[in-house]
Subunit: 217 residues, 2 copies
């Protein structure tokens, strides 16, 4: 490994450790530089912004989400159960960062931020996350209309983003309220699936899917 790569890695590791221990705001660039044994300016030679360091964190959380969910998903083919598993595993992956979640949220929410989950810089972890929800859908034995089945992964990912937002604000012990919301919402969605085949539901559903599709582009 080249010397350059080594410096970069030293910065990344130091930053991630500090993010975890001290949270976003307390993790100062002078602190990172100090612990990594380099100068502040040197850190900026490798990362154009503090937020670019958060990207690494985003990726790791994503990876752990996947790991948490992989085995558990094999236990059932029921859509509601699978969705619940995925959502709860996602909350589990986030859990260590709840204390400093507001800081990270603030960093992530700006449209131009490198860590905005909807932005171009986050394409990789976003695709990973959507793929995870595609697994949830694809492994379901429920009868789901084709059009819905196709859009569902992205919709579920967006729902998870909403859940994560709720979770940031959730002050209940161990964020139990978020977990309960995830469970109830999963079951509710599951119970809605059979209704989608009713004639007077088909129209509104198609309209909903088209509306979302248009809004997404």
């Amino acid at each position: 490994m080249g010397k350059s790569e080594l410096t970069r890695q030293k910065i990344t590791e130091t930053a991630l450790a500090s993010f975890r221990e001290r949270g976003y705001e307390q993790t100062t660039l002078r602190l990172i530089a100090g612990e990594a044994g380099i100068s502040v300016g040197n850190a900026y030679y490798y990362f154009p912004t503090k937020n670019h360091l958060v990207q690494e964190l985003y990726l790791r959380v994503q990876t752990e989400h996947r790991q948490n969910v992989a085995a558990a998903l094999r236990s059932t083919t029921d859509f509601a159960s699978r969705l619940e598993i995925a959502l709860l595993a996602g909350l589990d992956a986030l859990a260590p960062y709840h204390d400093s979640a507001p800081g990270f949220l603030q960093a992530a929410i700006s449209p131009t931020s490198a860590v905005n989950p909807f932005g171009p810089d986050s394409a990789a972890p976003r695709e990973m996350a959507i793929a995870l929800f595609r697994d949830v859908v694809d492994g379901s034995s429920n009868t789901i209309p084709a059009a819905l089945r196709e859009q569902l992964p992205e919709l579920l990912w967006m729902a998870f983003m909403g859940l994560a937002l709720y979770w940031v604000y959730d002050a209940s012990p161990d964020q139990r309220r978020s977990r309960r919301l995830a469970s109830r919402a999963s079951r509710l969605l599951g119970s809605l699936i059979p209704l989608t085949r009713l004639p007077f539901v088909k129209g509104p559903l198609a309209e909903l899917l088209d509306m979302v599709r248009e809004a997404r582009l």
Copy 2:
């Protein structure tokens, strides 16, 4: 008016004008102080935080939303039309600030921020906004189940918060995509109302309302 009140007002007016002209980030406290003819420290004597100055802005936007909507709402008793009117009027009230909306969003999103729309400091404007959506519902001639009717205003306000979030990211000219989304969503919701009386829809609806109620507390 006491001298103290005068200073406070001078600060507020200067800040609001600058927010409008220059946006959130470009509106610096040294700039406000300079234009208001006072010192930086003095501004902090009246407002504990830059974000507390944004509260005033939030209130004015709210007020204008109400004004924009009042007359128009008298033109129809159809729920979908009334909702559309309210949502579009809301976007109209926000329009002048779209350029600098990301900065304001960033200021508003933190749970501890004074301008977080869900926080205690924003109770007044939030109640105003919910009351506006209560008007929308109360003036509708549609047949709406009582339980839904009761929770609907708050649900619609939350939907509007979601729409506003979408609007922040909307880069289409004049934010047409946001307006189109508002229209389509209004009509879709309107078309869903009659379905709520169907027997197999009643159960899931009750569960949805209860879930939201529990999540809210």
